[in-house]
């Protein structure tokens, strides 16, 4: 796993974008530690600038409930602390996208946790699909409203396939 780029906000910003993603990897991993300045725990996730053709199903554990919902948009919910949450808390999340240069639709797996007030932990696992055959060349995280807080960090990594010359397959 090789770092492509890591971005940490020195001032609050509405979006964090990775462009010119190299095409010599196999899978992409984005690790994020983010927080919203507004009263929202949602970011919009765009690939190649597109917010279309996303589907999702998440499983979420919150205080007192476990729930699930399907979505057909680019709103990745419950992915970060929002205004009013304990100061200095950020989410801990990952996005995994295999075969990002392929001409097939792109599967996306998201895991994320956040916490508030020592009593309000939130855990979400999310299965998503971007139904688009284009190779992924850019990735954008946009705060649903307001900004990502200062100190929010997103790091993008690539994983490259290959062979060690020892393991055989059949």
């Amino acid at each position: 796993m090789e770092l492509i780029e890591s971005k940490t906000l020195g001032t609050a910003a509405a979006s964090i974008e990775f462009t010119s993603i190299p095409q010599d990897g196999t899978d992409l991993v984005a690790l994020y530690s983010i927080r919203a300045t507004a009263d929202t725990d949602t970011f919009n996730f765009k690939l190649n600038g597109s917010s279309s053709n996303f589907t999702q199903r998440y499983l979420r554990a919150e205080v007192g409930s476990v729930n699930s919902a399907a979505r057909s948009d680019d709103d990745f919910v419950t992915s970060m602390p929002k205004s009013g949450f304990t100061a200095n808390t950020f989410s801990n999340g990952s996005l995994y996208i295999p075969n990002y240069t392929s001409s097939s639709n792109k599967s996306i797996s998201e895991d994320t946790v956040s916490e508030n007030n020592a009593t309000d932990g939130r855990l979400k696992i999310n299965a998503a699909l971007w139904s688009n055959s284009a190779a992924i060349t850019s990735m954008t995280f946009e705060a649903f409203t307001g900004n990502f807080a200062t100190g929010s960090t997103i790091s993008l990594y690539k994983i490259t396939k290959g062979s060690d010359g020892i393991v055989t397959t059949s």
Partner: protein, 164 residues
């Protein structure tokens, strides 16, 4: 230059549909293994399975939780394989990520953490899965297989080693 944490050991991209892929001669030089399966199949309402070292005994225990359009679910069992992938609709795309910890240890049963993302038409099944292989042998081979149909051409399986 950061140290790569995923060392690619082998990748298979199916040129033609097949029901099984086996990784053999896995060296004991890493701490953990990660297997990533991605693609589509001609399978409906069945699974992708994993076995280690050709062991067909009832030595595979797992517990899962998940969600799909019909609601939340959880279950556990002991059976003859792990079940990392839900193939619900023929042609639907999946990604399953299997982490196998301390795979070369000879003094412990092998444990795994699995995340599964299976397309169900315009919906999905999302699963988290914990598993144990009740065997202290070092893992030297992994078979990923199906029983109800083939993996489609273009299906990929990648095996990585992780250095502690």
């Amino acid at each position: 230059m950061p140290t790569p944490t995923y060392t690619p050991l082998a990748t298979v991209t199916l040129g033609t549909a097949a029901a099984s892929v086996t990784f053999s001669s896995i060296p004991a030089t890493y701490r953990d293994l990660i297997l990533v399966a991605n693609g589509a199949s001609a399978i409906t309402n069945d699974f992708g399975y994993i076995r280690f070292n050709s062991d067909t005994g009832s030595n595979y225990s797992w517990v899962q939780m998940g969600a799909q359009s019909s609601g939340l679910f959880s279950s556990s069992t002991t059976t003859t394989s792990w079940r990392p992938t839900n193939f619900d609709f023929s042609g639907s795309r999946i990604v399953s990520t299997v982490q196998i910890m301390d795979y070369s240890a000879t003094d412990k049963h092998k444990t795994g953490l699995i995340r599964d993302n299976g397309q169900q038409g315009s919906d999905h099944v999302v699963r988290a899965y914990g598993a144990r292989w009740a065997n202290t042998a070092a893992i030297t081979s992994i078979q990923y297989f199906t029983t109800a149909g083939n993996l489609n051409a273009g299906f990929t399986l990648s095996l990585y080693g992780v250095i502690a």
